[in-house]
């Protein structure tokens, strides 16, 4: 998943942190984009993975956050975390009333590990947080309504996972689906408990164009919907968006002429691909899309908005 790149880049290299020992520190590149990358290791499920366990992430809109490494997070204590978190949610919802930890509360919290969701073997397993509402009518927890979902994952951060020091767990991407009030409570609890820091993850136009190219190259069945690019025109008193829809087969044909090595994409190829689309648009409408800002990419595979909202369809 391309969007993750932003999260990865926010994490600095951890070469030196010994205080006052300044030498021999490797410095990362500051905010530079990689010029080429391999395709697409992200979220590759293990061969023997159960697709049902990861099905929950499809067809939902996810808001992206980047998260700094979690301090003293332990995979063996997920049940405790659920208990504490559910009491915290109850206390936050009824500010001023104390809540005993461990009793059954209106909102049930489940924290679980999803080993299938990771970019590579070195990665941490993804952590899923589910909030569900117990229906007051039936005392048995047969009736539970899922109200909020969020998951942390680690995506192909090979060097990151290797470099994370003891006591820290690297799950740099957080995806949330549901009311922001719950995101806020759950996020605050994680921030307080594991001394991490959540930030909304915006996706730059450059990365959006990468997604457009990558997703164009994916094989889907022929009934797939059109590829749509949305551009926003800057410096106008009124917001003006330009929507550019392309038949998926046309886009695929164009991409196939651009891409040289299957399984690998370079920045140059992405630029060529986008430039072709721009010049085509200019020929018909006399508008230079290169002067606008790409804000949304939507394909049959997935869609992504620059505000850090994605949806995976397939």
């Amino acid at each position: 998943m391309e969007s993750v790149d932003g999260a990865v880049r926010t994490l600095p290299s951890i070469g030196r942190l010994s205080r006052g020992l300044p030498f021999g520190r490797p410095h990362g590149q500051f905010g530079l984009s990689p010029s080429g990358r391999l395709l697409p290791p992200a979220l590759r499920s293990q061969e023997n993975a159960d697709p049902r366990r990861t099905a929950f992430l499809l067809h939902k809109q996810w808001t992206l956050y980047s998260v700094t490494p979690l301090y003293r997070f332990s995979n063996t204590r997920l049940r405790d975390y659920a208990r504490l978190l559910s009491a915290f949610i109850a206390a936050e919802k009824q500010k001023g009333l104390a809540v005993e930890i461990g009793v059954e509360l209106d909102i049930k919290v489940a924290v679980s590990s999803i080993p299938d969701l990771k970019g590579s073997d070195q990665d941490q397993a993804a952590i899923l947080v589910q909030l569900s509402l117990r229906s007051p009518a039936s005392s048995k927890n047969s009736e539970e309504k899922l109200i909020w979902l969020g998951w942390f994952c680690c995506v192909s951060g090979d060097d990151l996972s290797e470099n994370v020091p003891e006591d820290f767990t690297c799950l740099p991407l957080f995806l949330a689906n549901g009311a922001e009030s719950y995101t806020s409570i759950v996020g605050s609890w994680f921030q307080k408990t594991f001394d991490c820091c959540f930030r909304r993850l915006a996706i730059s136009p450059l990365n959006l164009s990468w997604m457009a190219a990558m997703w164009t190259g994916c094989k889907v069945d022929k009934t797939a919907s059109a590829m749509e690019l949305v551009f926003s025109v800057p410096h106008l008193p009124q917001p003006l968006d330009i929507s550019y829809a392309i038949h998926p087969e046309d886009a695929k044909a164009l991409w196939d002429t651009v891409q040289k090595t299957p399984g690998e994409i370079t920045q140059e190829e992405v630029d060529v691909f986008m430039d072709c689309l721009y010049s085509h648009f200019h020929r018909h409408f006399k508008i230079h899309l290169s002067a606008t800002k790409l804000v949304k990419v939507s394909t049959a595979v997935a869609s992504a908005h620059c505000d850090g909202i994605i949806k995976v369809r397939f």
Binding site: T68, P69, R72, E166, F168, S184
Partner: protein, 750 residues
Amino acid sequence: MQRRQSSKTPKQPLQVHHKNQTDLSAWRKGGRIDLENSVQNDQSPNDQKNDSKQDSLEQALSYFEKVQDRVSLKKNDVLQKHLNTVESIALQRGLPPEGFDVLLNVALSGKLADTVNTRLLKSLVPASVIPENSVISSVSWLCVSKCSSNIQLLFLRWLITVFDFIDHKEQLHALYGFFFSFLQDEKMCPYVCHLLYLLTRKESVKPFRIRRLLDLQAKMGMQSHLQALLSLYKLFCPELVTITLPGKMKTYFKNSEGPWKAAINTVRRRNQENSPVSRLLFLGTAQPQSRKRKWNTQLIIPASSTNQNNLEEDREKNHVDLYSMNESFPVEQLQTFSQLLQNIHHLEFPSQMGSVLTNPLLLHYMNCIKDESIYLRLYYWMGQTLQEECTWCVADSQYEEEFKDFLETVYKTECFLQEGFSSCEEFLYRSLPLWDGFCCRSQILRLVSWIPLSSFSEMKSHLYDPLAQLFFTSSLYFKCSVLESLKELLQNWLNWHVIHLDSESDSQVYSSNTTLSGLVNVVAELIHFVGWISTAALRLENNPTFLLYFILDFYETVCDMYLRYNLPLLIMPPAGVFYPALLSMDSVSLNQLCYIMYRYRTNLVAAKQNELSKKKILQFKFSSQTYQEYNQYIIAMVGCLWTSSAFQKDIHPQGLRMDDELLKKTTVQEFKTSFNIVYHPAMMGYAVLFLQQAWPDDTTFNFSLIKGKKWNWYLEYLYAQGLKGLKVFIESSINRVSQASHSKAGNVQV
């Protein structure tokens, strides 16, 4: 019931020894009450009045001790008299420790009418301490409920107010369960909560008590006193209970001070005490987040709160602590430096490291702890925050003031720790190329001064290049600010170097000389950079004195690096700095330059001596080029200021050397002397004033009069005018053959 013992020797100063308080009352900022002082004050000698008062108080106390039946106040003059005595003495001087047992006993036993009991309780103002025994016995009176509920309430309020005056609290803690049982009384509940709040320790928090409090909460709804107690329970046992306090809450316990507070203050003021008992409650409520912005899009430095994650882990592991202190001290309670010292062995960092930025005590603690993870936690948080909040990097950020404050806080923390944060360094490298040089200017430039010393090879492209770009295109003021912060950067690096030399002098820090040479290279790079931008800036701005001052200020540090900072490196200023300073129109610059050249000389001489003595093989020698440059400058300087031969003798390629023919074409008469200490444009003002004083009648301003003995007088005059730099320069660098003759002076080369 305990009998009192202390009343037998009422005039003996009490020797009360405090155990170290670990109870909650010790949290507050004021510290403790100095008991012995107050007792001694109470016993001030040869005070007849005091003695007579003392006698009548003793009589009153013995009366109250013996009083048996219900005595009516109206009909009994004796009671009235003693009551008045107690009241007036209490309000004026406070009651001695031995008085409390008697008075509490009588007030709570219900022997007398409630009006009397109330008046007695109200006059229980301590002069020094309150013996724990008297409190214990009164609690037992409370349990047998001989007195009315009003008196019970009054007693509780009194107990809360004077809690800090009780000399010991161990037995009182043992009565925790008794107090807890009073919670069910609806009237007493708020006061009992407050008292429990003061008494609660970690071991007092039990699941059954939590359940009882939650039941009360369910019955009575949201009550601030219950909230306060439950929050405290949460603080001690976050794995058992949790509560989120509403942001607006300010007071948790109302009006518990009662009628005593003012009297206690008066008595204390009279007794010259200095520890105010201010009942501060500091439940860790984080600042309320504004509702306007989305979650976590606001820059908030988290509040210190206990790391519940760790607490629980400890409990589960059930591990045995070496210090047999299985509990950790909650950071919320850390309010004073002495608490820090007492609890430093079982203190834990807050759950969110970012909170240390606003907590000086934790910064002290941080300074003592060599744990990588605390720096790492801070690093992650700060890196993320800086990057996300940077006003000029993030397109739609409109919160410049907030960001400014944050940068300010970070800078102050760096100053406090005397150490730069690497997250800040990375932030600067990332954001400087995009910076307009205007937004948060002073904050950014101050952060630059704390960039950690490193051999990072890309310093040039990440720091110097973007900085130079802004430097050349910005105002004079900006240029000076950049020079100032680079000077501080240099000083911080040098300080770091010195400290590390000191702390590890035995273990050969730089055993492989690569590190020291790396350091020397980095420092040299900075100095060369400053030399380069200074030269260019002087030309761009036409040599203003203001700019020259900041440049020379930088070199004041550079010229002393060998002796003051033990760094084997000396770099001379470039000619583009040296000559403008030498020919400056301003005596301040010239004087500064003289001082700098004097320090260069001192450092170079010391280096040469070290080299010659060869006691140890030196890893670093100054290059002969440094000496050569120094000599060229000194020739030019002495030639200018002293021997009037600069135009002939200056051998610096960018120097003042000029042909006589060319000089003659300028039609300046006496061109040779035009830059000596009399004719130099920076000095001429002094020469005029000197002439006026030496020859008051002469109005021709004949400067050539200043020679021979007068020359020496003139020098003395200049020194007296505060030109100390000139003084040390001339005294060190000019070899005056004889004091009488000035013309033969020569320069000393090293």
